[in-house]
Symmetry: D3
Subunit: 164 residues, 6 copies
């Protein structure tokens, strides 16, 4: 099922999932917490990272997320997550979030986000990850964009550390 | 207690809080989910936004967050949140996250994040927010940095929408 | 998108989802509660029933489920749910449960279950449901089997009521 | 307190319990999830199985359950669970579920269900269970009915495995 | 079933319940939080108060509780709750807590506690409660002790208010 | 940072925290369970005890708490916790609870409570705790009051044990 030693296809680890938004997910106004969505997003993305690497993983960063529209209790949260890019010991997972009103069937794009995970060995040290093989044009486009984001992130972390 | 009609001091709404990390916050490796931290961060920051504006608020964006170090079950999560900047109907809240190992007492900086909230009126439409009065040099510095981040964010949202 | 007034395809409402088994899902021995699995199964199946009928639904029965193998904390629970059969005001949703060990990638069949939902109108009374259109040979086979199970269930409910 | 080596009375392990139905137990319509009831049922029945056998237990099957009436947030869920029958390494526990509206005091029968547990030794292998001693006429009737259900279940599992 | 207008027997509202202590109930050391036990105790005692009064109730006070022994994850928490005494608009509910190690079957007394509830009418104002009829010698003894505690409590609340 | 071997200032371990009351914290009437407040109170107080002692701690008793006013979903629960007094192996932590209506900004005193913790060594046996140094007049007043409460508690435990 694997595309060679140290390399896996995007499709081997990608996940699509659906979750019903419950009262515990929302603030008192009935809007689902942006943070609740990020919690579910990290859960699903870390599963993708675990599946791709076969290792214990830890979240290194979560990119900025814009919430285009509010999500409400009773909505279905649809999440699609896949590995976009793999570095030496870290990988970027992209998640697309949609909300569906199950009464009308209407689906709207809530937002998208990129999460970076580091794979760890048994001693908790960063450890190499199998390469990823983008196959479709969409996967190849995402691979290139993720590589660019990675350079931006590295520059920002450096600058943050100087200000800290 | 209020510093004039339509204006409040940063200190009037800021919050400091502590939370014990429990088994439900962590993945199977015992590391607290980055997303779990963002969940708590959004809860506390939305309280600050609610206190400042006196209105129902909704999360518009959560900025990128780098996790400098993993947080573990049993650690104390210390969160300090304050309004950095206020626009017409939106405001930026900054949160600084620290983790304390209660056994050794050692505190480490986990990361910092900026969240943007929009205030809503009774019909769910954006509504004006009282200005914020930064008083200390630190608050004034944060005000200026938040204003710059706001411009970057606006540019990025425009560009994302074109790619969508 | 709809296949005619009062009729929808199976594929219009079916759902596939993945969930990470957490410490709260398991008993003290580390085995996931069979009942926890049924809780998630009912959540996902009721979403399918809601999507198909466009109405508020209530669980009328959950069929017997055999757990072929135990599921453990850290496993991924993969659930696939689809409408099998539609009566006048009730419908059967089938769920197939698989567990994946994310370390080895190995997937095993945990069990399958059939749930019956009744659609309700605004007064909480049973209300007609759109017919379902099975398209693939697999969907057609499931339709026939569900029709048979429905007859068995009706007979059993009658007999239970006499013994009550 | 024990009725001989390898034998215990039904009354030594039976449990009656009451639980308040909370917002987290219900779907958006305010009806308690059938699956939520099965979750609580499995928790209480596995305690009975643990008490009777004195061993770690795992759910082998949960029989079909008909929900005669919906249960609502604010209702009390009354559960009565007892060992019905014991085989060599497995046992059937029966649970009767009633819902009480605490305002009116009215109690209605929600449904009943039979769960089968296997006792496991330290290596996770099935291990012998003490016999059960039915004492009252009701307990004796349940023992006989459980023995009959057991034969039906065995036949069904065989047939399911062939279809799998 | 009721023993006269404005009077109910203790046995009409008393409850016995069992709950399995889960990882979410315990601190990092594996001891169940005393506060978690008080949470469950208040849930069950408020059900008793609701059943006795047939009204919405609110917790007015929870008496001091000594935890004689720690409770651990995997223990069964056995709670027995009954109305001890009824005043004009408030009533005392007593709860006895025991912990059972389900492996050894050993039961130990964890502690006992007295909770006071006020019954509220539709406007949220205190409203009269039916009298309670203690029948057994034990119930009569508890009635007298509760009456004495009530006097002590009233004196203490007065004194606390002066110090506040 | 420590004020001598075996002695710490009150300010070294005290905590102030804020928590948003959610639907899961309340009974069906929308009032937050008194027991839910005690759960959070014990969580925060046990952190203070852990910080002061640097040891694993277990709740020995929770004093009586009067709820002066109901707390509602959507209120902010403000908790301030500090060590009041230290004995040989046990310490008293005081918690002051306030509720804030975030819309009006109004803060009211919900109640105050005293919790006693015992520090445990690696074998689970009581172990000595560093002394506490009260510095402000308020801290000194609380120290004296706590010492008096301790004597009362010891007398009561003795008397309870005789009645048990």
């Amino acid at each position: 099922m694997q595309a060679g030693v140290g390399a896996k296809k995007v499709s081997e680890s990608e996940i699509s999932t659906v979750r019903l938004m419950m009262p515990t997910d929302a603030n008192v106004s009935g809007n689902v917490f942006g943070g609740a969505i990020m919690r579910y997003m990290d859960e699903i993305a870390s599963i993708v990272a675990f599946r791709h690497s076969g290792k214990k993983v830890v979240t290194a960063s979560i990119d900025r997320m814009n919430f285009y529209r509010p999500v409400y209790i009773g909505d279905l949260l649809i999440m699609k997550a896949a590995v976009n890019y793999v570095g030496k010991t870290s990988m970027e997972v992209g998640v697309r979030i949609e909300a569906q009103n199950p009464k009308t069937g209407e689906v709207s794009h809530t937002g998208s986000c990129y999460l970076t995970y580091v794979a760890l060995d048994a001693d908790g040290k960063p450890t190499p990850i199998p390469k990823v093989i983008p196959e479709t044009p969409e996967e190849k486009k995402r691979y290139g964009q993720a590589e660019a984001r990675r350079r931006t992130r590295k520059a920002e972390v450096e600058s943050e550390k100087r200000d800290d």
